[in-house]
Each structure stands twice: as C-alpha cells, then as structure tokens.
C-alpha cells in the first residue's frame, strides 16, 4: 500500500466522521420534533366513537382540554376558532334531549379536500384530515363545503402559540385529532379529558381494537351519513 492511498483513506474516514458529527444532532432534533420516524400508513384509520348517552349536559371538559392543548383562546365570538364544541339537541318530534361534542369528522371522502384549490386541505393515510398552513391561501371554500361547520378561519394575529400546533392568521384550521399526540402514541386531548369516558379513540382498521369491537356490537351512526363521506367519528345513542 502506498502513501497516497493511506492518506486518501485517512481523509475519507475523517470526512465521514466529521459529516456524521455535523449531521447527527440535526437528525436527533428532527427525530425529537417528529416523534416516531416511521411513515404514516393506511394500516391505521384513526377514529372515535362518541357515546352521547354518557356525555353530560353542561360538561365542557373536552372543549377546554382541546383549547389548552392546541393553544386556542377559548373565546366564543363568531370570529374565534372553535375546533370542538358542545351541541345541545332536542328531538323535534319526541322532545328527547341530548348533548354531544362536535368537531371535524375526519371523513374518508372529505368535501374540504375536494374543493381546496391548492391542496392545502389533505387527508393523511391514517384518515386524519389536516390543513397545511403553508399552502392555505385563506379562500374559505372548505368552510363553505364542510357539512359539519367544523372549520374556523383565523381572523386576527395569534399570540402564545404551541410549538407543536402550527396555526396562522389568514388560514383555515380545524380539529387535527391531536395529530401531534397521536403520532407520539398518545390519545387526543378531548378523549383523555372526558370524565365519563364518552370519547373512545382508536384504530378502526384493526379488528381487535377496542373501538372496532365496540362498533361491531353497539348501534352507532355517522352524522349526515346520507352524504356518503364515511366519517372517522361515529356517534352512539343518537
């Protein structure tokens, strides 16, 4: 082996080492920011089953938990964002009353995604419907198209945002199913906060998951099932 070869190998070793030292912390940070590195796949379809019989009239714990988790102000004016809200219902014929939480239903065929001109509204492979805050031009066509009034438009500048929850003035936002928590293996904040365990979160594509077993045995419906959107959120006792 001649001198030049040795020198070259030495040089290569040092550069690879230096490169690794330079990149490693970046990778580490990237990992930390994104939680798990494996790609989102359609083996999973995240969904919720909401038991309206257990949902207490006047209880707002899920709403408060959502606001806290996502850094929403909790204001109730028509220009404030509300990702989840409690709706009080009364059957017009029978007079039966009930109360339930309403949020983005994470449709399999979401109208907001169909109409969005830029593709900012998109559905992840695991069924979560999101808005890319860098692509949204704020046209609000998705809000016109959503059957559940699930979306809010950010009407003014925001302060004290959560680093995990990107939001921005002039863009549209809605329930993310706490995607930043779900990707870390946690439950959405609302599901965790419900004192009556009325919100069951899980994988609809896994026949053995609790949610799948439950929707096989109890009657549940999709809101406005007539629209054929195949929502990820289902309601029991409606």
């Amino acid at each position: 082996m001649n001198d030049t070869n040795v020198q070259r190998r030495q040089f290569l070793k040092t550069s690879v080492g230096a490169a690794a030292v330079a990149i490693a912390p970046g990778m580490l940070l990237f990992d930390m920011a994104h939680g798990k590195t494996e790609a989102v796949s359609n083996k999973v379809r995240w969904g919720m089953l909401i038991d309206t019989a257990n949902c207490a009239d006047g209880c707002n714990d899920c709403v408060n938990a959502c606001n806290k988790e996502n850094g929403l102000s909790g204001g109730l004016s028509p220009t404030d964002s509300q990702w989840i809200r409690k709706i009080e219902l009364k059957d017009k014929l029978t007079g039966r009353e009930l109360s339930l939480p309403m949020m983005c239903q994470h449709c399999e065929n979401p109208p907001c995604v169909d109409v969005c001109p830029t593709g900012a509204s998109f559905g992840r492979a695991d069924g979560i419907v999101l808005v890319d805050k860098h692509l949204c031009i704020g046209c609000r066509y998705c809000m016109m198209a959503c059957p559940y009034k699930a979306r809010s438009f950010v009407h003014e500048a925001l302060h004290d945002q959560k680093p995990d929850v990107p939001r921005g003035k002039g863009t549209v936002e809605s329930c993310t199913m706490c995607v930043h928590r779900v990707d870390k293996g946690l439950q959405p904040a609302c599901a965790e906060a419900c004192p009556n365990k009325s919100i069951l979160f899980g994988n609809l594509n896994d026949p053995e998951s609790e949610i799948s077993r439950k929707i096989r045995t109890v009657a549940s419906i999709q809101v406005r099932a007539d629209l054929g959107l195949n929502t990820g959120v289902r309601y029991q006792g409606l």
Binding site: L76, S77, P78, T79, D80, S81, Q82, R85, K86, I87, E88, L89, K90, D91, K92, L93, M102, P111, V113, D114, V115, C116, P117, T118, G119, A120, L135, C136, I137, G138, C139, R140, Y141, M143, M144, A145, C146, P147, Y148, K149, R151, S152, F153, V154, H155, E156, A157, K169, G170, T171, V172, V223, R224, L227, L238
Partner: protein
C-alpha cells in the same frame, strides 16, 4: 373654467374622472392592505358568513364580464352588423370587469401574497382551481378576439375567435355557478339550476352595463345613438331580464316543493329580515319590474329610460347576489335534521353579518379598476362604435 374651450374642458374633465377612478382604486387597495394587516377581524365576515361583500362585488363583476360579451357574440358569430360595430367595446368591458372582479377576489384571501400557490399547487378536483384556468383563459381569448377585430390582417380570424369566446364564456359562467352548486350541504346552493341561472342572469347584467357605458360614450362624444339600434338593444335587454326572472322564480319554486327546503325558503322569502326585503324590493321590484316598465312602456323607452333601467338592473343584481351568497350562508347548516340544536358556535341560529367599510371599499376598488381600464382603453384605442345609421334622418 368659462374661458376654456369645450374641447379643453372635456379633456380636463376626462383627467379628473380618471384621477377619481384611480383614487377609488387606491382606497380599495388600502382597504385590502388593512384587511391583511389586521386580519379579517375588521370585516363583518366570521366563521358562519365566510364570504361577504367582497364576494358579492367580485361575482357580480365576473358574471357581468361574461354577459357583456353577448354583444360581441351576436355581432361576430351571428353576423348582426349593429352588434358587430360594438363588439370591440364589449370585449374591452369584459376584460375590465374580469380584472376588477378577480382582483377583489384575490385581495380578500386570507393570504393574498400566496396567490401564486394556487398556480404551483394545483388541486385537480377543486372547482375553484378549474375557475383559475377558466379566468386566465378568458383573458387570453378576449385579447386575441380584440386583436382579430382591430388588426386588418387578422379580420378573417375574428369569427372563429368570436366563437371561441362564445363557448369559453359559457363554460366560465357555468364554472362560476358550479362553485356554488357543488356545495351540496348548503340548502341555498346545492342545485344544478345555478349554472344556467347564472348564464341567463349574465346576459341581463352584461347588457345593462353595456348600455350605461355606451350611452356615456355617446353623450361624451356628442353623438346620438341610432334609434333603430337603441330599440333593438333595449328590447333584447328586456327579454334577458324576463328570462333571468324566470330562472330565479324556478329556483325558489322548486325549493318550495321539497319539504326539507321549505324552512330555508320561508327564511329567504318571508321571515329573514333584510334578505326577503332585498329580494322582493331590491331584486324583484327595483331590479325587474321597474326596468321592464321603463323598457316596454310606450311612454318610456328613450335613452334616459334605458339608462335608468340599466342602473336599476345593476342594483337588482347586487341585491340578488347578496341574498344568495350572504343569505344562503346565514341560514344554519342542517347537521342534525329533525333536531332543534344550539351551541356556542352558532349552530341552529341565523348567522349575523353586517358589511364593514373595508369590505365595501375593497369591492368598490374592483369597480374602480374596471372603470379605469375602460376609460383608458377607450382613450388609447378605437373602441367607439362606428356605423351607418339605419333610421332615416328626419
């Protein structure tokens, strides 16, 4: 001013008018800037009424831009000389209104600076995205058409270009209608009658705008519009108004027939406060019945009446769009049919909206843009209709 010759006075007046137009545009741009700085909080729009006054202005301008081209089509495609002489002016007006309308639409975006994203990230399933193509195509088609009419060597092409414009604007207005008729969950919108209704309405509104501009140009140049032409165009406008009214009536009557829609119709036509008022007084009375009297009653029908009728038709148009767009959103979504609902997010309640100054100024800015383009266009290029009078001189 007394010592100015009439011509110099007119030139000065022209510059004053253009300056005024420019000022309106500037104010509109400033309003948009304020909306961008403070956010839409300074508008009347909210999470229930997401499209408001700017959209009423923008959609009026876009629909009228398509309709005004009827004048060109009748001239070039169907070979009517009276209209042929007016085709270039109609083309100019179309471009002007399209530019005004699109600017308003763009400046109302939450992120107007990102409008380029709409071109780089194109979602093929979005009607909105299709419309972006339709609008830019329309500009190109009309410019080309104008060129074939104004450049002698291109004359032979003016008929095919006119044909292209004819087809394109049908598709364009259909596309504008489809923006609404694809909103199946909204009781006011999800119906296939909207695109044809928009097309017929566009004829009436486009004609009204054309009449006003044409009369102004004639008065400005101290020319008198040939009576024969006046009569034909006036009667055609009347016909369009009747046809548009028929479509609007059909839209509401069909809705009334569906039990699930009756509550909405009750709201829009009877109990909804400002919306029924605007519909019956603004649209039906001011926008249809009065203009029809002015057009067809033997005591009227002269230039002044036609201008008045045209103005009323335009007022009626704004009223109709306000009722359709704002009123259509004010009525709550039916998320749980059969239930009475209430929530902190306005579920089950009529949405509240009152137009704010910045929105109105932005809308007027769009009109200002259309005015400026027209005024400058007429001055720079030859858009004044030239013809040999058909009515025998008295």
């Amino acid at each position: 001013m007394a010592n100015l010759s009439p011509l110099r006075f007119q030139t000065r007046l022209y510059y004053v008018l253009v300056a005024l137009g420019g000022l309106i545009v500037l104010i509109g741009l400033y309003a948009a800037h304020m909306m961008e700085q403070h956010g839409h909080i300074i508008t009347g729009m909210n999470n229930q009424i997401v499209w408001g006054t700017p959209h009423v202005f923008a959609i009026f301008l876009i629909i009228a831009a398509s309709g005004v081209l009827n004048v060109s089509s009748i001239g070039s495609v169907f070979n009517k000389p009276a209209y042929k002489a007016r085709a270039p002016l109609a083309g100019l007006l179309s471009i002007a209104m399209l530019a005004g309308g699109l600017t308003v639409l763009m400046l109302d975006l939450g992120r107007p600076e990102r409008v380029i994203v709409a071109a780089t990230n194109y979602n093929i399933t979005s009607v909105f995205a299709w419309n972006i193509l339709l609008y830019s195509g329309m500009f190109a088609a009309v410019v080309m058409y104008l060129w074939t009419m104004m450049e002698k060597r291109m004359k032979a092409w003016s008929k095919p270009a006119g044909f292209l414009v004819l087809i394109w604007r049908f598709i364009l207005t259909t596309g504008t209608g489809v923006i609404f008729s694809f909103l199946v969950v909204r009781q006011a919108f999800g119906t296939a009658i909207l695109p044809p209704m928009f097309i017929v309405i566009s004829f009436a509104w486009g004609m009204a705008v054309f009449h006003i501009v044409q009369s102004s140009i004639y008065a400005w140049n101290l020319k008198i519009l040939d009576e024969y032409v006046q009569k034909r165009m006036r009667n055609l406008m009347g016909l369009f108004v009747i046809a548009a009214l028929y479509f609007v009536a059909t839209y509401h009557l069909t809705n009334l027939y569906f039990a699930k829609q009756t509550e909405f119709e009750q709201f829009i036509l009877v109990s909804g406060g400002v919306y029924p008022l605007l519909f019956w007084v603004g649209y039906v009375l001011v926008g249809n019945l009065l203009p029809l009297v002015l057009i067809y009653h033997p005591a009227f029908g002269k230039t002044r009446s036609v201008i008045a009728a045209s103005l009323l038709i335009i007022i009626g148009g704004f009223s109709l769009l306000y009722v359709l767009i704002v009123g259509g959103q004010a009525f709550p979504l039916s998320i749980f049919p059969g239930y009475e609902v209430s929530s902190s997010f306005g579920d089950g309640f009529i949405g509240q909206y009152s137009p704010s100054m910045p929105e109105i100024l932005l809308g007027l800015g769009g009109v200002g843009i259309a005015f400026l383009i027209t005024a400058i266009g007429i001055r720079v290029l030859d858009f004044v209709p030239r013809e040999i009078p058909k009515t025998p001189l008295k």
